[in-house]
Subunit: 416 residues, 2 copies
């Protein structure tokens, strides 16, 4: 029988009434004749509450014990959801990550799935039962409880989707799909009916907080179709899938802004081979993720090196960079935490040129200065002043004709 995997996030199971609503949706899928696997997160703010308890005990909780602690959150959810499904007259059985055979490596609090042993779920599904699986957690070969890291219930769902070759993995969340831009910023933003894995990956990493990036990667790798939709409404959401010929030929799929950014610049860096490597190795050693990097060679064999980090990491990044700056004889360091990264994303860029030029022009028309630029095959990002980020997003959204109105106008034109 075809399998459908559903995943419900913390807000979708935040209280008994919502859990009952989730039970109804799961039963609907079962009634429609699918083998049904449901992955749930911890209720509401449970995980944060548990972490807070840990930090009341100690400033540096053991990661092994943190996993033992936080994995209880999902265990509560699966038991309650199973009970809720029973009360609707359907059979259901809950599984912890350990019971279901989600085997991970031993990197506590950020473990990677090594394999899934689907035997147990399969036998329950064959009995007509709905299988309810605790998201976010797994178990090592020597029976240690692990968690997959923040937001990784998505990953659990995709991994199960891959293991069962699911027809679709439905990711239920508090938004009803992926938009061309943040609807709170761009009134005219349009829900995308479909988006490719690569585009979604760029959107996810750029701050469209719909789905966990690692989960999208996993879905792409195993070609698992994903449907992002709202648990509070019935409408169709956004389908994430491989590129297909039938897909609408758009150049730019969406515009995103990520405001939690900071820029660090090393001035007057001696222009010797290996200097950049030395700088970034040290930063990586502190587990700080670097995003964009720009090097500008100036006069006299000196260059400026700028990079961006997540705003929360700025303090730690500066501490390292200031040390390195002295060691390599750079002229100085400065930073700016009032920057944002604005990006346009779209598979069509691969075959269309001139997108960057159009992007820069649109920003220039609004007198928005561009601090740094980086590009990938399907994305162009510009660093701008934080306070201008929303303005930039609106300008780009309009320039690339992503809104409902523009689309309608274009369609009318095509008909003529």
């Amino acid at each position: 029988m075809a399998v459908i995997v559903q995943k419900y996030g913390g807000t979708s199971v935040a209280n008994p009434d919502r859990i009952k609503a989730v039970a109804k949706r799961a039963v609907e899928v079962r009634k429609a004749g699918y083998d049904t696997v449901v992955v749930v997160s911890a209720m509401g703010d449970t995980t944060d509450r548990l972490k807070k308890l840990a930090f009341q005990i100690t400033d540096s909780p053991s990661e092994r014990e943190m996993d033992v602690l936080t994995s209880t959150g999902e265990q509560v959810s699966v038991a309650l959801l199973a009970m809720a499904i029973h009360s609707l007259g359907y059979e259901a059985i809950s599984f912890t990550g350990a019971q279901v055979g989600i085997v991970t490596d031993s990197a506590h609090t950020r473990a990677k799935i090594v394999k899934i042993e689907p035997v147990r779920i399969k036998s329950e599904l064959s009995l007509g039962r709905i299988a309810i699986v605790a998201g976010f957690q797994g178990i090592t070969h020597d029976a240690q409880i692990t968690t997959l890291g923040r937001g990784a219930s998505d990953l659990t769902a995709i991994a199960l989707g891959a293991a069962f070759k699911a027809e679709v993995v439905e990711i239920y969340t508090d938004v009803d799909g992926v938009y061309t831009a943040d609807p709170r910023v761009v009134r005219d933003a349009r829900k995308l009916p479909v988006i490719t894995y690569d585009e979604m990956l760029e959107m996810a990493s750029l701050g469209a907080q719909v789905m966990h990036g690692r989960a999208v990667e996993y879905a792409k790798r195993f070609d698992v179709p994903v449907h992002v939709r709202s648990s509070f409404s019935r409408g169709t959401g956004t389908l994430i899938r491989e590129e297909a010929k039938s897909m609408e030929k758009v150049v730019v799929r969406g515009v995103t802004a990520n405001k939690n950014q900071a820029k660090v610049t090393l001035h007057g860096v001696p222009d010797r081979p290996g200097i950049a490597a030395r700088i970034f190795k040290r930063i990586a050693g502190e587990d700080i993720n670097i995003d964009m990097i720009v090097q500008s060679v100036g006069d006299g064999g000196k260059s400026d090196i700028s990079f961006t980090v997540v705003g929360d990491d700025l303090k730690r990044a500066l501490a390292v960079v200031e040390k390195v700056s002295t060691e390599i004889g750079a002229e100085g360091v400065n930073s700016d935490d009032k920057v944002a990264k604005v990006s346009v994303v779209g598979l069509g860029m691969r075959s269309h040129s001139g997108i960057a030029a159009r992007m820069f022009a649109a920003l220039a028309e609004e007198s928005i200065n561009i601090g740094m630029i980086s590009t990938s095959e399907i994305k162009i990002s510009c660093v701008v002043e934080s306070k201008l980020a929303d303005k930039a997003v609106r300008a780009l959204h309009s320039r690339f004709g992503l809104g409902k109105q523009m689309r309608a106008r274009r369609k009318r034109k095509e008909k003529k």
Copy 2:
């Protein structure tokens, strides 16, 4: 190395500060050179809170899922306690019931321990680590999570004590030991330095809520010395152990009262063989525990049968008994929920006669009427009016010379 098992109840780990205090006590034992195993219950009212959630979902939650749900409570406690011990600079590792190999039968919510596989704890202890074990839970042969029933963290501790041949199992609770009577009722009540398993069993089942009865039985069976003591003070508590020659030769060890009792009487029961069996089989079929039973044969081949049940079960018991009464042609049923059971307990009764007579005399002197009487080798119980229970306890406590004053007087006498 000698092993000490400590068990801390819910109030002892109710918040982060108390967990830190528990950590200190565990570390003290480790420092003293013992292999240390610590069993903990869920924090404060966690178990009740989780059960309440379940009943918000459904009136009849599945027992399997109830176990998945409630077992999370102890899992939270073990993780937090491990962190707290780490922060004191000692090594500790937490275990769920599943991880530690507490194998049970599959009677969810009231499972029985089948065996304990101590290999994993042993190897951690041999590394100098403090092993922290979730009380109350186990796992079946096919990896289902089970719980051992209310208050069964005591049982986990005793079972581990038996598995490791522990020097002692320390049961930390919110009272500082077992008393000759409830100190809230009898001002002169004295803490017992030592008590036998059998006496403790009678005391436990009679309402001295210090330790779970099943745990005492288990301790007796495997001859595990138990030390009941307070987690909020440093004093010695009460040692529960096998009878020893060196033990103080007392006839009566303590007096208890259990006020949550009700009495049911069937009047005019035809005096035919098998009638009593029929009545009590039906009641047992409803999972109602009968305590005392008295049958009085009257005139004309009719008898009255009275029995006591826990007050909470009265309604259910009456429903059954009224049906049975009609079926067997009894004359009628009445009940009284304003009764209490007052008992004197002591190993010395085995060899001393006249204890019952002294008990009845003491009650008579206070004009306390005795409704029913039952005796065992080491216990005599009388049913009295609820409102007279405290008075009865004080009278008996004094009559058998259990108080501090009496004892002091006796000792002075002996010296002369």
